[in-house]
Symmetry: C2
Subunit: 173 residues, 2 copies
């Protein structure tokens, strides 16, 4: 049934999310994630875990490791990660929450600075994201956002388990 | 700084996500959520909780309560929920996981059947989603998807805490 629907739609497909709205959407989510980092007590940020999962610091480093090389990859086709940030969520977290927040903010600025260079042909290009995942670049961007929401949702449970009220899910301003 | 970027972009804004890709994206996420429902033991689906949060059944009902009236709302401007499904995540969950899955699947079919009727002017329209949230309809759709990913991420922690291996995050096929 899904196949039929997709065939029907191909005839009348059109794009629906403006590129500037997608940037604002991503940065809104990143701002909320930043609030969660701030909400964690310093030690629990690095140590608290449920069910053998990574502490929130590890989840946050994965977000940073994916976000940072993505702009370069989309614009140039070079998905190698730079030495500064390591590869695919395996970077060691800086020693303090403040240093993580500084890294977060510099990534925010990099994304904002490079985004306006991304043209329609960049978004539509099928590429091997991070050398591993074949997809259109717009789908890779959705994946990065989804992955951040997914892991941040896990951070919400950690905060609740610690007895800390997390920020509202819609508080992205 | 963010304001400057947004101003710059308005001059050259273009849409980047095809409507049929957005449908496939949402249904892929809904398929993964369905796998999580299946992965929960029957009783824990209705009872297991961490930090005072709702059991996964409650989170799933919120997803259903938002998804179901959204197609009607986007197409007609009528965001009232139907009697069958209640309002905004406050529906009681059906008594068995199987009944929840049946509801999930009928919602999948409703979305697939109505989506092709959504035209560019529907996506771009600013509406009061569910009578409460003023936004463009495409932003409301992103919100529904994000909200599902967020709560499903919490379901992942529940499963891990129960010692159950959840499906992979990318397993949406």
């Amino acid at each position: 049934m899904e196949t039929n629907i997709m065939e029907k739609e191909t005839e009348q497909s059109f794009a629906v999310i403006p590129s500037d709205a997608l940037l604002a959407h991503w940065q809104g989510h990143r701002l909320l994630t930043r609030k969660l980092i701030e909400a964690f007590p310093e030690s629990e940020f690095y140590s608290f875990s449920i069910g053998g999962m990574r502490p929130f610091a590890g989840l946050v480093m994965e977000m940073l490791d994916l976000a940072r090389p993505s702009m370069k990859g989309i614009l140039t086709g070079d998905w190698s990660s730079d030495n500064e940030f390591g590869t695919n969520g395996h970077s060691p977290a800086p020693a303090t929450k403040q240093e993580v927040l500084t890294l977060w903010d510099s990534t925010t600025e990099t994304i904002n600075a490079l985004w306006p260079q991304i043209q329609p042909h960049h978004f539509e290009k099928v590429d091997m994201a991070f050398g591993l995942y074949k997809n259109t670049n717009y789908a890779t961007l959705l994946y990065l956002i989804d992955n951040e929401i997914h892991h941040r949702g896990q951070g919400y449970v950690y905060l609740r388990a610690l007895g800390i009220e997390p920020p509202f899910f819609w508080d992205r301003y």
